[in-house]
């Protein structure tokens, strides 16, 4: 205490912060005082505090420095001073990850942990567990078990929490303490109850039955701790989700009963759980929402925030249910907490009617400049949803967006606005011209290079299709004069697209391109020369292939194959067809994720796009013998389940298609803990024409592990119709019974067994890779003369609507829909679906399906492809 008085004096001298100018070297120097024979707490406490403060400020110690100071610190165990001892524990925890030989303090800590001084024990346990590893844990196991059921709640909590931390490195050991944890759940103390429940659930969570029992028991015995109740609600919600239980289940009723809990925390947790469950019916939802509605008017900002954030989530899945709160939400628009106001307004936008759009937009305009970028993005996303919902309001929304574009803001924010405008343009043809005009204006003054490049690309694609393409040229050419090289290059490409698509502009474009050939940047000059050359040839097919359509191959694969090509110096020219075609990612994947729409998760820097599935498979497959000789991997199918998901053996199959072969990859999982499988193979009965080339069995399959069996098949030669086939499959293996605990077999001899699998089909879709054509019409016209055409008419009597027919055709043929023809306008009775793809071996396929709705759907299918057999195959496969 007097140490502090002294400190105060010092501080008055130096004025202000006693920790202001501390230096690592001087603190470490001062720490030597710890080594003196008689410990003086009055001197040591301030020094140790300084050390801890310094570490907390982010100062890094080297392993040697840390070890030295750690050892000096251990000397302080001699002192009986409570605060000094507790600070030493903190020091041990801080340094345990940097210093060497920290286990030296184990015995001192064990002594404190089992000693009589209650004030040491809890903290000693936590410090001890921070320096313990899996092997040392055995030694203190007995003490830990005792501590968990200790009378002193602090000790018990400390032991439980530390146990939970230690499950990370010693799950097996901690599992043995389940009985103690069980006992601790019944503890009177609220925190012990909470920690015990957490540990118990963590130990049991893979065992569904045990969790069910746990929940059943605890829901009956009304837990005291609100934290424990929140935890229990989460467990119950997870069970409901996993079991697909409906609202009559006891878990559901438990969560509902929590609405009447006296703690707001619990009530909110229950409401949050209910609205997030998939199977919530409108009745429960109404209850949860009325609870949240109540919170909207609460005096505490946190409560209002929680309520409106949850309502915002609900608005995505059940907009109608939220309308009841519209009045409360409107009151929150003027909330002094901007986060609450923003969430309220975006919720209203999601639920609002067409008539209220103008009013809401005006309200947003008043505060949009005051909120952070993150919230602006949320607003933009809400506007996007609104624009899709009410296409007629596009002019109001578009004006608003363009005003936002002109404001200050970071890249992410601007990009989200540009994205929204682009989606509106694509979705709503009426908005196209105004949208493009706004974007043109924006790139006039855009500081983000990547964004400008994207917009120029879009202009090149969409501009030529508008009524007056010439008006965009000025904007694009301005970029060539004013911007940095990468934007200039993009502008050149965009102009070339105008040249290729609009013959009346060609002459002018050529003049501009000629000027670009004087550019100071190599890339810009190269592009200009390249395009001006192609454009001067006046050949439609050249335009299509080299200006309008870009490369379809996957870039990482191209890089890899080019590298390989350079290494083996062959005379042969490089074959671009050998490069796997990139799979078109499903655009709706992002759109359907409600989370990204409603929540404000800026996931930090976006992760670099993972290598495509094909790439990953290609690497794995190329390690197999003989597979390399099959050529490049063409396409991998989705995973197909050949068994039910909860059987003894689970088998999934992926079909990898090559130019003339198919490799079947069977991933097998053994779910029986008393069996070890050996020599696992698949007996396949291929359909006519298929030849099994090779089979790679899986030598050993222990419990809960996945092993892989490969089968290489050759497609029927010169017999395309037979390439679609159904294979019977049987899983064969040798079983050895084994001890579930150790996984070692009881006997050396096993016995043969087999397991029937579901039939496996190789479909047309497996052999086709989706590609996207920038200008489908041009390619189609060009194909008329050179490709083989087949045409047929079908009656699809089982289809009841055009949408259904379109989805099924796309799925069946495995082709990529073009020019957004997969969206059927509402209320039409005819529709034309345009598709494109590449058949294995690099054969281009174009398909036009004209659909008409009468009784069922009638379809006229026209197929054009480079190979007669393929055209025939496709027409014959349908029907």
């Amino acid at each position: 205490m007097s140490a502090f008085k002294r400190d105060k004096k010092e501080e008055e001298d130096s004025g202000g912060n006693p920790f202001q100018n501390i230096e690592k070297t001087s603190v470490l120097q001062e720490a030597r005082i710890f080594n003196e024979t008689s410990v003086n707490p009055r001197k040591c406490i301030p020094i140790l505090t300084k050390l801890l403060y310094m570490l907390n400020q982010g100062e890094q110690l080297s392993a040697k420095e840390a070890t030295d100071v750690f050892f000096a610190m251990t000397k302080l165990f001699q002192s009986k001073d409570v605060i000094l001892r507790r600070l030493v524990y903190l020091g041990i925890k801080e340094l345990s990850s940097i210093a060497d030989d920290v286990i030296i303090v184990t015995s001192s800590l064990t002594k404190d942990m089992t000693g009589k001084e209650d004030i040491y024990r809890a903290a000693a346990i936590r410090a001890l567990c921070s320096i313990t590893d899996a092997t040392m844990l055995q030694a203190i196991e007995r003490y830990m078990k005792q501590a968990i059921v200790d009378r002193n709640p602090a000790v018990s909590s400390a032991a439980l929490v530390s146990s939970l931390h230690m499950t990370k490195f010693a799950p097996e050991v901690v599992k043995r303490w389940v009985n103690e944890a069980q006992e601790a759940v019944n503890n009177e103390n609220v925190m012990v109850q909470y920690h015990a429940l957490g540990l118990l659930y963590h130990i049991r969570k893979t065992d569904r039955l045990a969790v069910t029992k746990l929940v059943a028991r605890l829901t009956r015995m009304s837990l005291k701790s609100p934290y424990a109740v929140c935890m229990l609600i989460r467990i119950a919600a997870k069970l409901i989700e996993e079991e697909g239980a409906d609202n009559s289940s006891p878990y559901f009723q438990y969560i509902e009963s929590c609405f009447r809990h006296k703690s707001e925390m619990v009530v909110y947790e229950a409401a949050h759980a209910i609205v997030n469950l998939d199977r919530t019916t409108s009745r429960e939802l109404a209850q949860a929402i009325s609870v949240l509605q109540l919170f909207c008017g609460a005096p505490k900002p946190t409560l209002r925030f929680a309520a409106v954030r949850t309502l915002n989530q609900v608005a995505i899945s059940h907009p109608a249910a939220v309308t009841a709160c519209n009045l409360d939400l409107e009151n929150l628009i003027t909330d002094s907490n901007r986060s609450i106001a923003t969430l309220a307004i975006t919720t209203l936008l999601k639920t609002g009617a067409e008539s209220s759009v103008d009013r809401l937009m005006k309200q947003i305009a008043t505060f949009v400049s005051e909120i952070s970028d993150e919230f602006k993005i949320v607003v933009v996303q809400a506007i996007r949803a609104l624009a899709l919902k009410f296409p007629r309001k596009h002019s109001v929304l578009m004006n608003f967006l363009s005003a936002m574009l002109r404001d200050e803001g970071g890249l992410e924010y601007k990009a989200s606005i540009a994205d929204t405008i682009i989606t509106i343009i694509e979705d709503n043809p009426d908005a196209k011209e105004t949208g493009l005009a706004h974007l043109c204006e924006f790139i006039e003054d855009c500081e983000h290079v990547s964004l400008a490049v994207r917009i120029l690309n879009l202009l090149g694609k969409e501009g030529p299709k508008t009524k007056q393409p010439s008006r965009y040229i000025r904007f694009i050419y301005n970029r060539v004069i004013l911007e940095c090289p990468s934007i200039r290059a993009a502008a050149v490409s965009a102009m070339a697209q105008f040249g290729a698509s609009c013959p009346e502009l060609l002459e002018n474009i050529q003049v501009l391109l000629a000027r670009c050939q004087m550019d100071s940047d190599d890339e810009v000059r190269d592009r200009a020369t390249y395009y001006s050359n192609i454009l001067s040839k006046n050949d439609k097919s050249l335009y299509n292939n080299y200006i309008l359509d870009t490369l379809q191959v996957s870039i990482p694969a191209l890089e890899r194959t080019l590298k390989e090509y350079i290494q083996n110096s062959t005379e042969e020219p490089f074959d671009i067809k050998a490069v796997p075609v990139v799979q078109i990612s499903k655009p709706d994947e992002q759109d359907t994720k409600p989370k990204s729409e409603g929540m404000l998760i800026s996931s930090g820097p976006t992760k670099t796009a993972p290598a495509s599935r094909e790439e990953q498979f290609a690497v794995r497959l190329s390690n197999l013998p003989d597979v390399q000789s099959l050529g490049p991997l063409f396409r991998s199918s989705e995973v197909i389940e050949l068994t039910e998901s909860e059987t003894e053996y689970v088998v999934r199959c992926v079909k990898h298609c090559y130019a003339r072969h198919v490799v079947l990859q069977f991933d097998c999982l053994n779910t029986l803990n008393d069996q070890l499988l050996e020599n696992v193979r698949i007996q396949l009965e291929p359909s006519e024409g298929y030849k099994i080339v090779n089979q790679i069995p899986c030598p050993k399959l222990p419990y809960n592990e996945t092993g892989t069996v490969y089968i290489v098949l050759q497609f029927p030669e010169n017999d395309l119709p037979n390439s679609i086939g159904t294979f019977g499959a049987v899983l064969k293996f040798i079983v050895k019974d084994c001890d579930p605990a150790t996984g070692l077999p009881d006997i050396d001899e096993g016995y043969d067994d087999e397991y029937m699998l579901e039939d496996l089909e190789v479909t047309l879709g497996d052999q086709i890779q989706k590609v996207s054509k920038a200008n489908w019409g041009a390619s189609w016209d060009e194909a008329e003369s050179t490709f083989f055409e087949m045409e047929d008419t079908y009656a699809l009597s089982s289809m009841n609507s055009l949408e259904e027919a379109v989805t099924n055709i796309i799925k069946f043929l495995g082709l990529q829909p073009q020019e957004r023809s997969d969206k059927v306008p509402k209320g039409k009775t005819t529709h034309t679906l345009l598709l494109a793809g590449i058949f294995r071996g690099g054969i281009e396929v174009l398909v036009r399906a004209k659909l008409a709705l009468a009784d069922g759907v009638t379809m006229q299918l026209t197929v054009r492809s480079q190979n007669e057999g393929v055209s025939e195959l496709i027409t014959s496969a349908v029907g």
Partner: protein
Amino acid sequence: MEGSLLEPLLYTVKGIAILDSDGNRILAKYYDKNVFPTSKEQKTFEKNLFNKTHRANAEIIMLDGLTCVYKSNVDLFFYVMGSSNENELILMSVLNCLYDSVSQILRKNVEKRAVLESLDIVMLAMDEICDGGIIIDADSSSVVSRVALRIDDIPIGEQTVAQVFQTAKEQLKWSLLK
């Protein structure tokens, strides 16, 4: 609604920070290795957080994918951070506990100077509130009783009978040992 149902885990708190009126760190702890792993990222986040919160007294904000609840007094800012899906009221209870504990330790004199004077005790209190992201205790009086507050620092009127008894026992013990 993938991801919005909360995993039943005890790891609730992602970080706790006490900043001064210039946004500089007095104490800060981050409990999740994936959230601001380096000290530089932490300090950038703190600066950013401070800039967004020091003017508006709004209690809660979402920043960098975290829900942050906060409270300020004179020249101190207290923050508790959790994942953006976390129950905000739980985070708030932790913040209240932190603030009340500090307030009791400093005898209602919650300002920077006082915190620095009793920094050792405040550190111990933070350690008692949250361990590796798990809430250890959210009741300020029980936290204060655990941090070994020098008993003779509390005016005698605010001591419990047990504490007085304990003091008497200690003193007796020491006088015998002498």
